[in-house]
């Protein structure tokens, strides 16, 4: 396509008319220098940059991710995400535990290839730019995260647990099965969080996103993923996290926290987060509570695989 044709496509697909000349970039190495209004060309396909993705936590506004561009595919007008190459090393907090984490385009490229056609995972392809940078072109999934879906439910816990939880949890079990299958392919997700599962608008399918984080230890390659799955289970069963502050406000008259809860009732990783939900919600089935307790300070036995979690969930009817 020449510049004039590109401009026509932009005007046809974008809500805003493009003013002035267009920068067409084939080398994406300097991702900070690529911004809204630029066009990225990857092996003859053109992507119009609308801006950067940002990612907050727990519903809060986040920092822009300058290596992740929101684009329009000028071949068909579809919204996409283009992830440019950014090798990053940083310390990540898993609750009270700090770990060294690495952002790996290569890992994400490999996973996208392995999960191609499996819509439990975000779909995309990797295309090399003229400098050999592995650029990931990803579908843009429209929908809310599991975090948002659960948080926006306007009902008390008992009503939630009786009416909404069964269907929602059956989808969470499917998500755990997807992670189990990913592990069996020799891969890890790397950043399992309740806002990295999107409930797709229209299909209502639960879909994993964002698998470019990795770590450097091999003895328990699934540890970080299992930690994440434990958090999702806790969040969904509890309809949110329940911390010491809240528990203090909900105590029966005349009772202290220490009389109702033990240290072992709380998370191994988040000292103030209740794991023993049955003490708060007595109708939570015993078997399900036991699954949660594997992530508590009192546990002596850890899950080592996602299949072990699934086996225990199946035992208690999920």
């Amino acid at each position: 396509m020449n510049e004039s044709e590109i401009k026509e496509r932009i005007d046809a697909f974008s809500p805003l008319r493009h003013q002035g000349s267009i920068r067409i970039l084939q080398d994406t190495t300097e991702f900070m220098a690529i911004g809204a209004g630029d066009v990225i060309e990857l092996q003859g396909r053109y992507y119009y940059v609308r801006g950067e993705e940002s990612e907050g936590r727990f519903g809060l506004e986040g920092e822009p991710k300058f290596w992740v561009k929101r684009v329009i595919d000028l071949a068909d007008g579809s919204p996409k995400i283009v992830k440019l190459v950014f090798y990053e090393k940083f310390l990540m907090q898993l609750g009270a535990q700090q770990i060294r984490c690495f952002r790996s385009p290569r890992k994400e490229e490999r996973i996208l290839h392995k999960v191609w056609g499996d819509h439990r995972f975000m779909q995309g392809v990797t295309v090399q730019d003229v400098k050999g940078n592995p650029v990931r072109v990803l579908e843009r999934i429209h929908g809310k995260s599991v975090y948002q879906v659960v948080n926006e439910l306007n009902m008390g816990h008992e009503e939630y647990f009786t009416r909404t939880f069964p269907a929602l949890f059956s989808n969470v079990v499917l998500c755990i099965e997807a992670i189990r299958d990913l592990h069996r392919m020799g891969e890890i997700h790397g950043d399992i969080r309740n806002d990295h599962v999107l409930v797709e608008r229209g299909t209502a399918a639960y879909r994993w996103i964002d698998f470019d984080y990795t770590y450097e230890w091999a003895e328990q390659p699934f540890g970080a993923d299992l930690f994440g799955l434990g958090n999702i289970l806790l969040f969904v069963v509890g309809k949110g996290f329940h911390t010491i502050d809240e528990l203090g406000r909900r105590l029966p008259a005349g009772k202290s926290l220490g009389e109702v809860f033990d240290a072992e009732d709380f998370s191994l990783f988040f000292n103030n987060r209740l794991i023993n939900l049955k003490k708060l919600f007595p109708y939570v089935p015993d078997g399900l509570n036991v699954v949660l307790m594997h992530f508590s300070r009192g546990t002596e036995v850890f899950y080592e695989t996602a299949q072990e979690i699934l086996d225990d969930l199946k035992e208690c009817g999920y």
């Binding site: 090798y87 690495f102 790996s104 450097e216 091999a218 003895e219 328990q220 390659p221 300070r297």
Partner: protein, 150 residues
Amino acid sequence: MENKVLVAVDQSENALRAVEYVAGMMKHHPGCRIALHHVIISPSPDVVPDEAERKATVQRMREEALHQLEKAAHILTGGGIAEKSIHLNLQVCGESKSIVELILHEQRQGGYETVVVGRRGVSKREEFIFGSVSSKLIREARGCTVWVVE
């Protein structure tokens, strides 16, 4: 009678304490054969994308491992173990693999009756996330004795 002992060595002080313990236990067994086994796992290209940097890292790890193995060997000879009874193994693994699997493979291949490992003393959180070589070794070893030295 030959007593074959495989001592898993890493860069920690715990590993050297385990070697000291082995020296004490085996010095009165003239037929003992002690292998000091150090595993190096090459960094994954996912973590270190540059091949030259990976090679340099492995080279540095090799040098450190050899130094540790020699230190461990001196502990054994200093503890009364004959030099001819000591064998040094340095295994470089080019992909992300379980150290326990590699140790147990060596145990089976070499017919070692005893495997020795130092216990790092990881916290519960660390064990959850990173795993524990000593705990996994205890669980997965078959047909041999495991000594875990604090």
